[in-house]
């Protein structure tokens, strides 16, 4: 902003788009029609749904559900144009969600997209994401938990409260744990402030299952349970390509085969974390790539700086047997 600070009365400039309170138009006549395409274009939802398709590999069940939610909110908006009960009047639909899936399946990424999508659809006023874990919600002594939880919730109002590894909130082995108190406050706000707040919980499937088993009220207040499946080999390779393209690297033809071979081996090993493992593998490949260039010395072209070779992957401990043999 270029407004000069000072004590003089300043005329507010033209408000930024999206900041204005939405005007309430007259309800349409009974025989009028609303064009779905213009509604879609008006909220620029298509853009974000398309970017979901191109930027996120796989995750078909998740994408389907997101499209359903987008459709519901669009239809709700069209309904409210006719004065039918919709978002504003009949109480907003409950959009609290739970994302379950193994490590690195894209839960956090999708949560960020979801916030933006809901903002575009006019369900959330801001669409910011406040990401919290147990530390941010649960206090350390009596009376500390409630204000802490409330603080986090109030900060997230108008946006999304993303609770990562939500099952840590409840510790079954310690009945005097303050996590229970935090859950109760959370439930109360999830119920009473549906228009202001969307809560997204994320965690690993089995542990979330146990968490809901001990907190049945929580499970029933979450309308959408989304399962994030593990990626297949092809999807992982595509994710790797996507990450490299973003960082302006590329694989040589030989390296592509090596990379797939690497992924196939890595998938069978313990502590495989899907896309996160792919990212780590690429980070290490970049290290070796840099090291190789420095060691070789001489002149470097743009292509040399961008191209990853099989050697950058073969040095990995995943190929332990082969590197020892050579």
């Amino acid at each position: 902003m270029t407004v000069r600070p000072g004590f003089a009365l300043s005329r507010p400039g033209p408000a930024q788009a999206g900041d204005q309170e939405p005007a309430v138009p007259e309800p349409l006549a009974d025989d009028a029609t609303v064009d779905v395409e213009t509604e879609r274009a008006g909220s620029r939802v298509g853009e974000i749904l398309d970017s979901l398709d191109t930027d996120l590999v796989g995750l078909e069940p998740v994408k389907t559900r997101i499209k359903e939610i987008a459709a519901l909110l669009l239809v709700d908006r069209a309904r409210s144009r006719f004065g039918l009960p919709g978002m504003g009047t009949a109480g907003p639909p409950s959009l609290h969600m739970c994302f379950t899936g193994n490590p690195g399946t894209g839960k956090t990424t999708v949560a960020l997209r979801m916030a933006e999508l809901l903002h575009r659809l006019g369900y959330l006023r801001r669409g910011h994401v406040v990401s919290v874990t147990r530390d941010d919600l649960v206090g350390q002594y009596v009376g500390h938990t409630a204000p802490k939880t409330r603080d986090a919730i109030i900060r997230a109002m108008g946006g999304v409260l993303f609770i990562d590894e939500a099952y840590y909130l409840y510790r079954a082995e310690n009945e005097r744990d303050y996590g229970q108190e935090s859950i109760e406050i959370l439930l109360q706000y999830m119920e009473n402030h549906r228009a202001d707040l969307v809560v997204i919980m994320a965690g690993y499937a089995e542990r979330m299952e146990a968490f809901f088993a001990s907190n049945p009220g929580m499970s029933s207040r979450i309308a959408h349970h989304l399962e994030f499946p593990d990626y297949s080999l092809d999807e992982l390779a595509a994710i790797g390509e996507l990450m490299l393209r973003e960082q302006r690297y590329r694989l040589s033809a030989a390296a592509q085969a090596t990379f797939r071979d690497y992924l196939a081996r890595r998938m069978t090993q313990p502590r495989f974390a899907n896309a996160r493992s792919v990212r780590n593998a690429l980070e290490r490949a970049r290290l070796r790539h840099a090291n190789r260039l420095i060691a070789a010395g001489g002149a470097l072209g743009k292509d040399d700086l961008m191209r990853l070779e099989p050697a950058d992957f073969l040095a990995s401990r995943v190929f332990g047997d082969r590197s020892r043999a050579s």
């Binding site: 902003m1 600070p5 000072g6 004590f7 507010p12 408000a15 930024q16 900041d19 309170e21 006023r125 801001r126 910011h128 109030i154 900060r155 109002m157 108008g158 946006g159 402030h193 202001d196």
Partner: protein, 112 residues
């Protein structure tokens, strides 16, 4: 005696919707909002009690309105005001302040 203090005090009391609108304006200007209450609205009383800390990291008016509601529930017979603090260099002062609650019976000012 009806106390007139702060912005909008010659108008009828603001509704929650109007308060939300004003809070939204303040947040769009980048001002930090805080809620304060007192039983002594004398102009020379600078020391109103704070309802929690100033909400420097709140991006949305709903959260502030929620704090106002909680303060009203806790102190229904107090004067409650919202202050918007402009932290930009060269200003660094309260930019907007208005009453959001007053007692049912206003006794007027005590001598200070």
């Amino acid at each position: 005696m009806r106390i007139t203090q702060g912005t909008f005090s010659y108008l009828p009391d603001l509704t929650d919707q109007e308060i939300t609108g004003q809070l939204g304006y303040a947040l769009r200007q980048g001002w930090a909002l805080s809620v304060e209450f007192t039983d002594d609205p004398h102009p020379r009383n600078n020391y109103w009690d704070m309802w929690g800390l100033p909400m420097f990291d709140l991006p949305d008016a709903a959260g502030v309105l929620h704090e106002i509601h909680r303060c009203r529930r806790a102190y229904p017979d107090s004067y409650i005001r919202v202050s918007a603090y402009d932290s930009r260099q060269g200003r660094q002062t309260v930019a907007l302040s208005f009453l959001v609650n007053r007692p049912a019976i206003e006794p007027g000012l005590r001598p200070v």
